[in-house]
């Protein structure tokens, strides 16, 4: 019986994920957090630009508030990610 390379790779990947389910889970969480953090960073930049251009004081205050929330979310996200990675390294 002959296996082609693509099939071999696929089977090996399945076997690996079966053997290492917890690591897979951690990797998934890591990916998710990284992606969301990237998006938050982008959003933070966008908000900063908006604040700089905003002339209405009330509106600017609202945007600044939102920026602070995003900042706190990023901080929390980074802490979560680093503890996740520590857990993964163990």
């Amino acid at each position: 019986m002959k296996f082609d390379n693509a099939l071999k790779k696929k089977l090996l990947k399945k076997l690996k994920s079966y053997m290492n389910a917890e690591a897979e889970q951690l990797q998934q969480e890591d990916d998710g957090l990284s992606k969301v953090l990237k998006k938050l960073k982008k959003k933070e930049k966008h908000l900063k630009a908006l604040i700089a251009a905003e002339r209405d004081e009330d509106e600017r205050e609202m945007l600044e508030q939102e920026l602070k929330v995003i900042h706190s979310q990023r901080k929390k996200g980074i802490t979560l990610l680093s503890s996740l990675r520590k857990k993964g390294n163990k």
Binding site: D31, K35, L40, M62, Q65, E66, K68, V69, S72, Q73
Partner: protein, 609 residues
């Protein structure tokens, strides 16, 4: 249709009556007699209402479990109350409440048709021979004294006595009117013999009953006219048949706005009375012979046409019942087929089908769709509860202007929608989640989020109901401080609703929609702090009364809870499906404590400035 008919009929009747009063004072007396009689019936109905809600219901429940029993109940209750319409109304209410079935209801209607004929006996046998107006006066006096009593039952008796007094007085005036009318115009000259007369007077009978909304009143009018020999005996019979058919038209008009149960009962009423009327017309000669035979047997004089009319009325209704009883079950099935129940589109789940339960993902999607539907309905209820328009809340118009445009409180029954639509759907969703319970922690987590979203919907609606009570009172208050505060509460909820709608709309494209809710949470906490400060100021400066301050304190808590739950609904509903990024968003979302820290930092910076 009902509205148009009423719009055309009322002015026509008023004009005809006014013209009649102008040309004939006797006609005026007869019409006044009818009016007093009808007023008496209203008073009688009012009196019997005092005894419903207890005795009558208990009797009804016990005495309608068999067809013969329900027919007897119809006969007895209508004989006592002298109003088949009151009995029909009570029957419809019991049908609506599901206490009795349609066949029992039909039995009562059959019986009521027979029971109403006792009115003819009373008037023909007693009313015309005795000077009943002599009884009317003391009844009215005693009745009115009792109406002024505090006890509900004494009041009821008072209304019954007054009702009977007016009935007697009305009959007296009709009688007097016809007696003097006779000397001026002899209506008997217009009598039409044979079948044309039968049909013509049947139609007049129908018309008169539709106008007076009471076959009983028509019958009394026929008997008094017959006693004064203003109409011929044959024509009086035709009028009585017409009155029997006409009474169903009022029931049909009433049932137009009723539910399918009321419509079915009105349908049964119509079929019964039309069939009975057709039988009476077809066998009129045989019926007349039978009436003569019975009259001779019970000792009614040959020329006593009023009592003979009473015999005729009872006889043809009795024949109608005898003919219709074997077909009762067929009638029920026919009516159920023809008048189908309309399922409530909101109260019935749209997406939760049993087949989807076998496929976890499909079932979860069904749950999400159903929750979205409940949420859409709930936001509509919240907007209406705040006397606002949801479309305007979601528009780009300035919210301050929207609030100003809706300065008047609108009556809106949140309880009704809550009980019949939202609660029903939420419980269907919860039932579905129970059936879907899974050992898989990922699915279990998603189910739990959907459950929590529905729970938050219910809490938010309950809070709006509480808030609505004082809000309706204060938004248009003369005190600008309190009206300003209550309008601010409305604006705050509306603002959050608008923002949430925007987040939901961008949900497909923006991955951080769950995190966008955190800014709203922060605003909520910040505003609560500001409100407390302002409230203290208002109380200290004496701008609001203590009562207003307490209401405002309670209602600001309700507002907080509404907004908090609206955010929670979206937090749990938005992307309740599992996925790496969604899970990450749920992990990163700030909790109340963290929001508090951000708020404290904000305040510190503001103070430094």
């Amino acid at each position: 249709m009902k509205g148009t008919l009423q719009k055309v009929m009322l002015p026509t009747i008023l004009v005809i009556l006014a013209y009649g009063f102008w040309i004939s004072p006797d006609f005026k007396e007869i019409a006044a007699g009818v009016a007093i009689f009808l007023f008496g019936m209203l008073a009688l109905e009012e009196g019997f209402k005092a005894f419903t809600g207890g005795t009558l219901e208990k009797i009804l429940k016990k005495t309608t479990n068999k067809l013969w029993k329900s027919i007897s109940f119809g006969v007895v209750s209508t004989s006592i109350m002298q109003s088949s319409s009151l009995v029909s109304v009570i029957t419809i209410s019991f049908l609506g409440a599901g206490l009795i079935g349609l066949s029992q209801g039909i039995g009562i209607i059959f019986g009521a048709n027979l029971g109403t004929t006792t009115g003819a006996w009373l008037v023909a046998g007693f009313g015309l021979k005795v000077k009943i107006s002599a009884y009317a006066m003391p009844m009215l006096v005693f009745g009115v004294i009792m109406i002024f009593q505090k006890s509900r039952h004494l009041k009821g008796i008072g209304y019954i006595l007054t009702g009977l007094g007016f009935l007697f007085l009305g009959i007296h005036h009709m009688k007097e009117g016809f007696e003097t009318f006779k000397s001026a115009i002899d209506l008997a000259e217009y009598a039409v013999a044979g079948y044309p007369g039968l049909f013509l007077f049947t139609l007049i009978g129908i018309f008169a009953t539709v106008v007076m909304q009471s076959s009983h009143a028509t019958l009394v009018l026929i008997i008094t006219a017959l006693a004064a020999q203003q109409i011929s005996y044959e024509n009086a019979l035709a009028l009585a048949i017409g009155a029997n058919v006409g009474t169903t038209i009022t029931a049909i008009l009433g049932a137009l706005s009723s539910n399918e149960v009321g419509k079915r009962l009105a349908g049964a009423h119509l079929i019964f009375n039309v069939t009975t009327g057709l039988i009476a017309i077809a066998f009129i000669h045989q019926l007349l012979e039978a009436v003569d035979l019975i009259s001779a047997y019970v000792g009614i004089a040959e020329a006593d046409y009023t009592l003979k009319l009473a015999v005729f009325h009872t006889l043809f209704n009795l024949i109608g019942i005898t003919v219709m009883i074997p077909f009762t079950n067929h009638l029920v099935r026919f009516l159920e087929r023809v008048i189908k129940s309309e399922p409530d589109r909101y109260a019935q789940p749209k997406y939760l089908n049993e087949s989807a339960l076998e496929f976890g993902d499909a079932a979860l999607e069904a749950l999400r769709m159903e929750t979205a539907r409940v949420y859409a309905k709930a936001t509509d209820v919240i907007a209406k509860g705040l006397s606002l328009d949801k479309k305007k809340i979601f528009s780009d118009a300035k919210l301050k202007q929207v609030i100003a445009q809706h300065a008047r409180a609108i009556d809106y029954d949140i309880d009704d929608v809550y009980e019949h639509e939202i609660k029903h759907l939420c419980s269907a969703i919860l039932d579905y989640t129970n059936k879907l319970s899974s050992a898989d922690p990922v699915i279990a987590r998603q189910i739990s989020r959907i459950r929590m979203a529905n729970q938050s919907i219910l809490i938010a609606l309950k809070d709006v109901k509480h808030l609505q009570k004082n809000m309706k009172r204060y938004i248009a208050s003369d005190n600008p401080e309190i009206s300003g505060e209550y309008n601010r509460l409305r604006q705050r909820i509306a603002k959050v609703m608008r923002r949430l709608e925007k987040i939901r709309a961008s949900g497909e494209t923006s991955v951080t929609s769950i995190l966008s809710l955190d800014a709203l949470k922060l605003t909520l906490e910040k505003n609560m702090g500001l409100l407390h400060e302002r409230m203290n100021e208002l109380i200290r400066d004496g701008n609001v009364s203590a009562e207003m301050a307490i209401s405002l304190m309670n209602d600001s808590n309700y507002t907080y809870s509404i907004i908090h739950n609206l955010i929670q609904i979206n937090h749990n509903y938005l992307k309740s499906e599992e996925g790496g990024e969604t899970e990450a968003e749920h992990m990163i979302a700030l909790n109340r404590e963290e929001i508090g820290t951000v708020l404290a930092d904000n305040l510190e910076i503001a103070e430094k400035r």
